[in-house]
Amino acid sequence: MSDETCASMHLLIQADHDGELDAADAARVAAHVQVCPACAAHAAALRRLSTRLRAEMPADALPHRLQATAARLSAPPRVPAWRAIRRQSPGFAAGLALAACLAVVVLPRRAPDLADQAVTAHIRALQPGHLMDVASTDRHTVKPWFAGKLDYAPPVQDFAGVGFPLKGGRMDYLGGRPVAALIYSRAQHLIDVTVWPGAAAPSRDGTTNGYNYLSWSHDGMVFWAVSDLNKAELQAFAALWR
């Protein structure tokens, strides 16, 4: 390959590395990299750099002052919403009352999907002070913490050795029952794993509000993992459990 061709490949090789190419362009890159040692070296260098950056950069937590600001701005207004609305417009309030009546009819048929519930629980947990009830990287601390709070013993594993360290656990409420939520980290990202006993169900995965989720069953337990981590790494994390 001439140098000129290779120079024009650089941004494509990078885009392939960043997961930005469609299948046809990715195939073009793969074909070129196979016959061009210089470009193969570039691709390998990009992979090395990404791995090191993700492993070595500090994951700075949100400072306390910003956590407090987030909590303050998230707080509901002091005037109850229904009163504020009634003050503004009686017609709107009537509409709201009608909507409320309709909701009674409609809501039971459209119970929130488990995936939505799991993602909502994750987002709620990310609010300051809600993430963990027990903060420990030791599974022999986290597992006994659930005893007496649940009618089952959740499997607690630590995957620190493969880059998914355990951070702690908390009680959550999902699918109409209290459940155990385990928190893991991957570089800057947090992963929530909710687990409860249940019949084996088909695996599911998807994205809601920018969060990826993944469910699976194993050993009589149902697992839901939610994170802003990318799908590939979330899949790799799930594979560790099976």
Binding site: A45, E56, S74, P76, P77, Q188
Partner: protein
């Protein structure tokens, strides 16, 4: 059902992205107190303008507000237009205390020494895993510019941190 008061919308749209916003501000400004001030101001601003949020990309919306605020602060701290596109041939030397005893430049030091325009693209791509499109929206440049900045950032880092390797 999720509520729709400004606080609830803020909790849903903005709060999940504050850690990423803080990390971006920290990498741009390289000063914890300044980054904290920037995110504090940006959070207040996002709250005031929460009703103007349209669409589905809350992350890009929040990071754009924080990034703009951080760039303003950066201009005040270093008015010598460090944000300029034009790069010196060699990146400035990293802080001495970030250089390891054995002489190898740490990755962190090399990243810190990148010009901010390159650094922000790399941080958003590598550490926050944003798409080219999102980064382009946040920075306000075409996708092609994001790609070339990422390439230059990576080549600079590789040249600096792998120079001592056999």
């Amino acid at each position: 059902m999720t509520g729709s008061g400004p606080g609830e919308v803020f909790a849903r749209i903005v709060v999940p992205h504050l850690p990423a916003a803080y990390r971006l501000a920290l990498w741009l400004l390289r000063d914890k107190a300044a980054a904290e001030d920037v995110v504090q101001d940006a959070a207040e601003r996002a709250f005031r303008h929460i009703a103007t949020f349209r669409g589905d990309n809350a992350c890009a919306w929040v990071l754009r507000i924080v990034r703009n605020q951080a760039v303003e602060t950066l201009k005040k701290i270093r008015p010598t237009a460090e944000l300029d596109e034009d790069l010196p041939d060699q990146a400035p030397l990293p802080d001495a205390d970030l250089v390891r005893a054995e002489g190898e430049i740490t990755l962190q030091a090399a990243l810190a020494a990148l010009p901010p325009t390159l650094r922000e693209c790399l941080v958003m791509r590598e550490l926050e895993e944003l798409s080219y499109r999102d980064i382009a929206d946040i920075v306000g440049v075409p996708v092609g510019t994001v790609m070339s900045r990422l390439w230059r950032a990576r080549q600079l880092l590789l040249a600096q941190t792998e120079v001592f390797r056999a």
